[in-house]
Amino acid sequence: MDLDKYKKAWENQPEETRKVSKVDIYKMAHSKSSSIVKWIFIIGILEFVLLNSLYFVVDMEEAYNEYRQLGLYNFMFYSQFVLYPILFYFLIKFYLNYKSISVVDSTKTLMDKIIKTRKTVKYYVLFNLLYVFIFGVIVSIATLKTHPEFNSKQILVSIIVTIVVLIIMVIILWCFYQLLYGILLRKLNKNYKELAKLEDLN
């Protein structure tokens, strides 16, 4: 079968009957976008803000007193010098990636850049989850040290329970995160795979 007759029908198709007037084009051009890119930007910023606003919710004075009792004050204090540069690194990278997204690029490049922007936040969240995990383990070890009456079996059980609880917590947060972006980017990921399929073979 030939597609020629269909192509001819396509070429002869009439112009759209519901023409959009200049006034409406003007109004539309100045309305708010609801594109995926915009949502990725908003959600990304929210993630940065939410993950860091925890510091304001928690009573730091009290928290530091507890760290002092556990002998973790120095660790907590100095870890901030590592954490903030990392946060800024991710924020700047996220912003630069976002700015580089351009609908004028080729379809593949555009999708590459959208996925890259999302990945920056993904790594930041992953980094935070890892930090929460390591921090949880350190705190539980320090807590155990303040209970010298525990025998080795009790210590072992506490460590295992802590690790299991932390792993479950991290998995739940990770699933929630995947779901959020999964819904947002399902279509894009599918299209990206479709377009990249052939390139991978070469």
Binding site: Y6, E11, Q13, I25, V103, V104, T107, K108, N191, E199
Partner: protein, 164 residues
């Protein structure tokens, strides 16, 4: 200056708006979604218009922005109600050049294209619009060889849908 740019944009857009309508028709299945996508494409075109330099044809540039928006940026808006059937799209042919078979072919073609995936839709659309493989590979960002291979597969899929 801004006003001048705006007027130029409105002129260019109005003259070429049929391209955007065609893209909306193949990527959406009802009028609400059509309008929604049309609006998003308009936003993207205007947002990038200042970067558009006259070295390319406005229409060429429009194909790219419209397809990119449909494939990668557009999210079905929640206010869109998916109740209307695709048959609601009517293609009114002027009385003097009325051709029943061509109208039916066009309807069959649209409904077949809508069954393809987003990338195949773009390939078939660019083929129907008589674009060269060079332009197609450039628009999608794949090599010319791959564009040819993909195009042949997309055409085969389309034929299968048209003539099951």
């Amino acid at each position: 200056m801004e006003k001048e740019l705006e007027n130029k944009f409105l002129d260019d857009f109005e003259a070429n708006q049929n391209i955007v309508h065609k893209v909306c028709r193949i990527y959406t299945t009802n009028q609400d979604a059509h309008n929604d996508l049309f609006q998003e494409i308009t936003i993207q075109l205007w947002k990038n218009y200042s970067k558009f330099r006259g070295d390319a044809k406005f229409s060429t540039w429009m194909y790219r922005v419209a397809l990119n928006t449909a494939i990668s940026l557009y999210r079905k808006s929640t206010r869109t109600i998916q109740t209307q059937d695709i048959t609601e799209y009517s293609f009114k042919i002027k009385a003097e050049d009325y051709d029943d078979t061509e109208e039916l072919q066009l309807k069959a073609l649209y409904s077949a294209i809508r069954k393809l995936n987003d990338i195949d839709k773009a390939l078939i659309f660019l083929y129907l619009e008589d674009k060269s493989y060079r332009e197609i590979s450039d628009t999608l960002g794949i090599s010319e060889v791959n564009a040819r291979v993909k195009m042949n597969r997309a055409k085969d899929k389309l034929k299968k849908v048209l003539n099951p």
